[in-house]
């Protein structure tokens, strides 16, 4: 039979490596999937694109937009991708040098400080509130600054216009190396089992094309296994790691020469959940947080968002 044509939405980030590996190494083909990768500038539009039918599968953090789209019956979360886990560098909390010098040396001191986020309802927003909760001050004591774009946040942090931010390790490390930014903590201390990104598909696929979804997840997981082995667990040897970096470089940091891109790719490698396991507990926590912030309707249940029939959840 002819292969099923599907489109997968992706960002040019290392965290989407599983898709690239599965594509490059023919795992999708082996499952009878004719995949077209569509690239996006931000995660949010991938969810919208699934709703509009432009894309079949995508990877993105749980966001207010994603939940609302799920509520409107457009999409379903079907698995987990990135996951914070002890022992592996996870997202880090940063402070501007100016704020650091003024005493912001630990997340506990964030009370009354400003914190950069892209938009209300983004993962950054969630992180900031989780820190407040754990440190025991009111969420409103952290002054959130929505700046739309990661680049804008970086600029604002460097120039001391915002005091703090949290971000994935490879960007965090890069920034902290410079003179204007200091690292003050880890997100995993505040959200131990953070299900950072998830894989999702249209509600139609999840309900009517279960077979197709399963085949996609199988291929995707194979890609994830290769990636984890090569760059996260480093059990596959140096040559395999090198080869993996080269493969990823076809998609990520393409405008930089390989020598410059490679360290960033290696630094940015975080574990991708085996078999797309999904931490449902954390997803529920995220949903509860969205609801407590009035960002999504209180009547939405976890079943509206997640179809747990495809992968192992915990």
């Amino acid at each position: 039979a002819a292969a099923d044509k599907i489109a997968v939405g992706a960002l040019r980030f290392t965290s989407h490596a599983a898709t690239f590996v599965a594509y490059e190494r023919g795992y999708f083909k082996a499952e009878g999937l004719d995949v077209e990768i569509k690239f996006f500038q931000a995660a949010q539009p991938i969810a919208v694109a699934i709703a509009s039918g432009d894309v079949d599968f995508g990877i993105a953090p749980i966001s207010g937009g994603l939940i609302n789209l799920a509520d409107k019956g457009a999409i379903k979360v079907i698995g987990g991708v990135l996951h914070e886990e002890p022992g592996i560098d996870g997202q880090m909390i940063l402070a501007s040098k100016k704020a650091y010098d003024a005493g912001l040396t630990a997340p506990a001191a964030l009370r009354g400080k400003s914190f950069g986020i892209t938009q209300a309802g983004s993962s950054f927003h969630y992180v900031a509130h989780k820190i407040a909760d754990k440190e025991g001050f009111a969420r409103s004591d952290i002054k959130l600054r929505p700046l739309q774009k990661v680049g804008a946040i970086i600029g604002a942090l460097k120039s001391g216009q915002i005091d703090s931010w949290s971000i994935v390790p490879h960007i965090a490390k890069g920034l902290a190396k410079g003179p204007t930014v200091e690292m003050i903590g880890k997100v995993s201390d505040y959200i131990p089992d953070y299900q950072v990104t998830t894989v999702f598909t249209s509600a139609g696929n999840a309900a009517d094309k279960k077979e197709l979804v399963k085949r996609f997840l199988a291929a995707f997981s194979k890609g994830a296994d290769d990636f984890n082995a090569a760059l996260v667990d480093k059990t596959a040897g140096d040559a395999a790691a090198e080869e993996m970096v080269k493969l990823i470089h076809k998609y990520v940091y393409v405008s930089r020469p390989y020598e410059k891109a490679a360290p960033s790719i290696r630094n940015g490698s975080m574990r991708i959940n085996k078999n797309a396991k999904l931490n449902l507990t954390n997803v529920e926590d995220q949903l509860a947080w969205f609801q407590s912030e009035n960002l999504v309707s209180k009547t939405i249940t976890i079943d509206t968002i997640v179809d747990a029939s495809f992968v192992e959840t915990y």
């Binding site: 949010q44 969810a47 919208v48 709703a51 966001s63 207010g64 937009g65 609302n68 789209l69 409107k72 019956g73 457009a74 938009q119 209300a120 309802g121 983004s122 959130l144 600054r145 929505p146 700046l147 739309q148 680049g151 804008a152 600029g155 604002a156 120039s159 216009q161 915002i162 960002l295 999504v296």
Partner: protein, 265 residues
Amino acid sequence: MADNRAETVPFRGGGFKHKPAVAVSMMVFVVLILFWEFGSRTGFISNLVLPAPSEAFTAFLQLIETDMLWKHLGASLQRLVLGWTFGTLLGVGVGLLIGLFSIVRAGLSPLVSALFAIPKIALLPLFIIWFGIGEGSKVATILFGTFFPTVIATYGGVDNVDRSLIRMGQSFGLTWLSIVRKIILPGALPAILSGFRISASIGIILLVAAEMIGAEFGVGAYILLAGSLMATDQLIAGVSILSLMGLTMAWIIGKAENYFLKWRM
């Protein structure tokens, strides 16, 4: 006259004239909204594609109930008023200089034309660096957006002041300042005011762009949030608020025109 047939002259005028039909206008709006509501209720228009007007209205009511409307509106209006006031004041000033002095014109008017067309959203990152993420960059965005059209309207207005009036002023030996104050300024006023119309609507459009930068409150911020949450009902509500702001501004400027330009019809 042999032939005694008498015929009325055939009518050939008519057409190409507009009878105002307010009833039709109202009806189109009402029918459209009813159809839209009906479509949404029956599911003919998917909720994903477009929320029902009633939902958008509910979102609007919610804004009022939670007192957020005034917070958003207040924040936006403050930015708009500040940015627009300074933008137009500066714009009128520079426009007058360009209109009155050849040297200034030669120096500035190509610059103004070059900068006018630059999309302000593209410059947001620079604005953040230049003016910070506080109110500064938001006001600056609107200021920049309103400055250039005002300059162009103003010096266009000065250029279009009837030369024969200026010549008349000179022929009566009026001083340079008298001519500028009593002839050129009032003569350019209609153009300046119609420039205000344009700059006001540009200002409102730029609210959305301006409030991309670290704004917690503001109609633009509300719309952006609604967009990122895919809360289309709130999105439509927010956009309607902008529309109403635009109508209000146009109405105010219309009043100002009536007042300042009553010498015209």
